[in-house]
């Protein structure tokens, strides 16, 4: 049944319908779990994320806010290399595109990179970020107390 749902969502292009021309802010506001489900099951690739970024930039105000909120929720599920890729896409945006919602997304990316950096090496596995990559973000390691605080913030 679980796989049936995944296949059904992909086959019927539900994500495309939600983000397409007939998209509506209230639908987007409620559909974050759906996008997270697809991403967790590897049915949303980084190319799809790139398309979602582009759609977000084409939209205005509330619409854009909820699409960026979806991206922010997806960023919580990403591994360091995916986070790096998403951050790179944001870096490529023009300065005029950066607003409060984009900054919120950057904050989520930063928090998750920090959490990945502090994971024990065996737990983070092959997707672990090396020191050079972390330097490129400019995020420091911080004290264990500040890490705990960040983790607590993430939990709530």
């Amino acid at each position: 049944m679980y796989r049936n749902y995944i296949e059904w969502l992909v086959k019927n292009e539900i994500a495309g319908i939600l983000l397409g021309e007939s998209s509506h802010t209230e639908l987007l506001r409620r559909s974050s779990a759906l996008f997270r489900f697809l991403f967790r099951n590897k049915r949303l690739t980084m190319d799809n994320i790139d398309q979602i970024c582009k759609i977000a930039l084409e939209k205005h105000d509330t619409h854009r806010k909820y699409i960026l909120k979806i991206l922010s929720d997806l960023a919580e599920l990403m591994n360091p290399s995916e986070l790096q890729e998403l951050f790179q896409k944001i870096k490529e945006m023009g300065a005029q595109e950066i607003d409060q919602d984009i900054l919120q997304l950057i904050k989520t990316i930063g928090n998750n990179i920090t959490i990945h950096l502090h994971k024990p090496k065996e737990a983070s596995g092959s997707s672990s970020m090396n020191g050079a990559a972390s330097e490129s973000y400019g995020f420091g390691r911080g004290s264990s107390a500040s890490r705990k605080k960040r983790v607590m913030l993430k939990v709530f």
């Binding site: 049944m1 679980y2 049936n4 749902y5 539900i14 939600l18 007939s22 509506h24 409620r30």
Partner: protein, 62 residues
């Protein structure tokens, strides 16, 4: 399940907002339920590693 979920698909494409809202809400609920069932099944498998545990019929049938 499939009859119901195909109804959801047509609701999602409806011109009426209330139908579309119903579709998204139902989909999200169904996904949450499917994830819970999947987690329970994985836990059951992990409790007895190596055992040939088949998913219950409600898990695989439509």
């Amino acid at each position: 399940m499939y009859k119901e979920i195909s109804d959801i698909s047509s609701c999602l494409k409806s011109q009426y907002m209330d139908k579309r809202m119903y579709a998204v809400t139902t989909l999200v609920e169904k996904i949450a339920e499917a994830e819970r069932n999947q987690e329970d099944f994985e836990k059951l498998k992990n409790l007895n590693p190596g055992a040939d545990i088949k998913p219950p019929h409600w898990f695989t049938t439509e």
